[in-house]
Symmetry: C2
Subunit: 477 residues, 2 copies
């Protein structure tokens, strides 16, 4: 990694060149780089925490002055029990995941001795823009190197001392590995985000990690594909047949276990028959947990009639905008619908296509809901808070995508790869085929795992010469 | 299909609503719609050809006036022998492909009775902008319906009578099927492309089918993801060990079999040792086929010394811009390199990442090339003209993508799908897991083909009510 004050163009061009070399490193070479980073960051813990203390001091001052929130200060703190160790373990976890590149994912025999293979490969150069949390830099660096991608990192100014310390340690560690230092660059210059976002010739994918203001800004400022989500307006549709106790447990978890999360519940859609069955006890539990309920006219009236007098006074009428709002807080909007069709239409119109759930005992109803809802994650009888790469078994996540192109939902290593089509022939040409000529065979061939990684020592030597830019063409190549 | 003069916003909103219904139709319902379209277009051949004759008449006048090229006039002609029948057969070919949606592509047991499945689904609403060829409308309509996507079609004005006739026939045919007519809309209003390109709330993917001017315009005018390629600057790297006869056959095919194709060869990269071995006979054959050769200084000098006097006079010196140009004509740029590393660097810098080939007998050299070249298709000992969805066995293609996100290379039905994550539980919540709580199982589960399509009659009835917007909530849902 290099800490750089170079211009955005220089940064991007260097990352592009570095990415070409990184893409042809072996699994072992990329894993060895992660081992080296892990060891160096373990050894450099005191140094990083000292830098982090400086960031914390500045942040505490800002918090006292009212220009920074206390929750942001907490997110900055790398010294919190277990946080640094979790960051270190995360690097090893990523290292030990299956290599996502050089995998053959499809193979077709087009004709005798003419074989088409689809091989996974890195996307190229990633631009990661993130806010305060300093441990993200280690996490993202590990994901990028593991998947063979170069990364340009631009962090928030609140963590600048921590970032610089971590980047400096990673940089030294990488210098003893096969990974070119330009493959990870931490940009320290201010006000360069707009310039970086214009470099679509060199940067293949942009991943903003932060609040919806950041994501919206990035999406509207670049023609580079952006992976992420601006909003997390998640909903749950409550059917009257679902037991009140289970419904309460699920809805409380979805709303209260981490209200600031993008997968937290923001809207409860209630079938009208559930207004008098399960909704009252669910609403009581939510109110007791400090949740503000913003109810449409029908649910407000029903709850006022069924809740005790004190609880009833806590209910609030919903405005139209409440059904297009990500509260990120202990607030829940409640909407009554007459049927499944209305629930589906409401959710497809007002949710942010992140994660939506149905609670019902009816398999037919559930399947219809799961089929008709147009969201990245659709759940039956569980909490929207399940939407998370670690919970999905990806080891870690790059982010959560509400895009409908490439990757959707929690995105792991696979989302940082694409494929190339490799065609191996022995002199066949296109004009031989078609009317009156040879016929295509188009036979699907079963593929074993990783069989593309056939790299013999001679190939590795050719690639080494390519990487070192001093190929001598000894073999006439 | 509807022929519409509605505003772009009305068109896009209607397509979005239609797409929700189309997405939940069964395989049989979508296939039946393709059968109906096929039959109607077969019956309506005379009507379509009469409309096409009007377009041709106008085009011929424009060609005489010099405002339209003869090749464009040819592309307009649907009456050309076999063309109409090919268009009809294409609809049945697409119908008979495997259904790309509702396939389970991964499954993980997160915990007991908590199963995560990745299910393929349509992207949503496609915007297809195409130039003259009228048969594309039938082709694209078939691909969109088969994959469960709604499509907004905007064609070039040269084919307007043909488009209107085909759209009218498709519209009538669809009215007797389960496909809502708003799922296919042919926009007839002029000057609406810019407005359509701004509707990223309703349109999920834009596919421009036409020349690089159109593609560049679309890419620079929208924040909707664009699938396609602006340029097809394809290269072939000739090593000295590859037999001259096979090399000549491959290079002639790549350059001359269809010079206007995006997969045609534009640059020959020659190892310096091949300058005096195979290059002279290859150059002779190219010159005899009428190809203009634009040679760098080294290859120019070598060929002047080895070709006969007449041929030598035909050689042209290359300018720097020739190595960044898509000629789309019988012109080829020739570049000499000292080694594989230089060839890789040149190609990664100057090719358009569409299709690049190496000609060599060395497996190590070939594998190094295939690994290091950052293009959608990379070939060993065959012609760049092989890059085509039909040749790859996709049945048909939506286009060829040089994107590094989602789909790359020739794109078939699979490129028109994305997936959703379906999680089925029985009341589990996120707070039960983690430190001190339950442990995730994360067991991979083998998936059979198409097992998600479990739709029983009751589910289909629920979905029918949803589609018809008259769900009565009889079951409390």
């Amino acid at each position: 990694m290099s800490l750089t004050n170079a211009t955005p163009l220089e940064v991007a061009q260097a990352a592009r060149l570095g990415s070409r070399e990184l893409a042809v490193l072996s699994t072992e070479e990329r894993n060895a780089a992660l081992t080296a980073i892990h060891r160096a960051l373990a050894d450099g813990k005191d140094e990083v925490l000292a830098a982090n203390a400086k960031d914390l001091e500045a942040a505490n001052q800002a918090a006292e002055g009212g220009t920074l929130s206390q929750s942001l200060v907490k997110r900055l703190d790398l010294g919190k029990k277990g946080k640094y160790e979790d960051m270190l373990q995360g690097i090893l976890d990523v290292r030990d995941l299956e290599d996502p590149i050089n995998k053959t994912t499809a193979r077709t025999l087009l004709d005798d001795n003419l074989t088409l293979s689809r091989i996974t490969c890195p996307i190229g150069v990633l631009l990661i823009i993130f806010e305060a949390r300093p441990e993200v830099i280690a996490n993202i660096s590990a994901l990028a190197l593991k998947s063979g991608n170069a990364a340009i990192l631009k962090g928030g100014k609140e963590s600048s001392y921590s970032f610089a310390a971590i980047a400096s340690i990673i940089s030294t560690a990488l210098s003893s590995t096969a990974v070119p230092s330009d493959c990870l660059q931490l940009v320290q210059t201010h006000d360069v985000i707009k310039d970086l976002l214009s470099l679509d010739t060199y940067i293949d994918l942009c991943i903003p990690r932060g609040g919806n203001k950041l994501v919206r800004f990035v999406k509207s400022s670049t023609s580079i594909p952006v992976l992420g989500h601006a909003d997390g307006i998640c909903t749950t549709y409550l059917c009257s047949d679902y037991p009140a106790q289970s419904a309460t447990k699920i809805i409380l978890d979805a709303k209260t276990s981490y209200p600031a999360g993008c997968n937290a519940l923001e809207q409860l859609i209630v079938h009208e028959s559930a207004l008098t069955t399960s909704l009252p006890s669910i609403a009581s539990a939510l109110l007791q947990s400090g949740v503000s309920l913003r109810c449409d006219a029908t649910s407000l009236s029903a709850l006022q009639n069924s809740l005790d007098a004190h609880s009833a006074t806590l209910l609030q009428p919903a405005s139209d905008t409440d059904f297009d709002t990500e509260f990120l807080d202990l607030t829940l909007a409640i909407k009554t619908v007459p049927d499944l069709a209305s629930a589906i239409t409401h959710i497809n119109t007002h949710s942010s296509h992140h994660t939506d759930a149905i609670l019902t005992t009816s398999s037919s109803t559930a399947h219809a809901f799961l089929a008709a809802i147009d969201s990245a994650s659709v759940y039956w009888n569980t909490s929207t808070r399940m939407a998370d790469g670690q919970r999905y078994g990806f080891g870690t996540e790059v982010g959560i995508s509400t895009n409908k192109i490439h990757s959707r939902g929690p995105v792991g290593l696979e989302g940082l790869t694409i494929y190339k089509w490799v065609l191996v022939g022995d002199g066949q040409v296109s004009a031989e085929y078609g009317a009156g000529g040879r016929k295509w065979k188009h036979e699907k061939v079963a593929v074993g795992e990783g069989e593309w990684v056939c790299a013999d020592e001679e190939e590795r030597e050719v690639l080494r010469r390519f990487r070192e830019g001093r190929g001598k063409g000894a073999n006439g190549v």
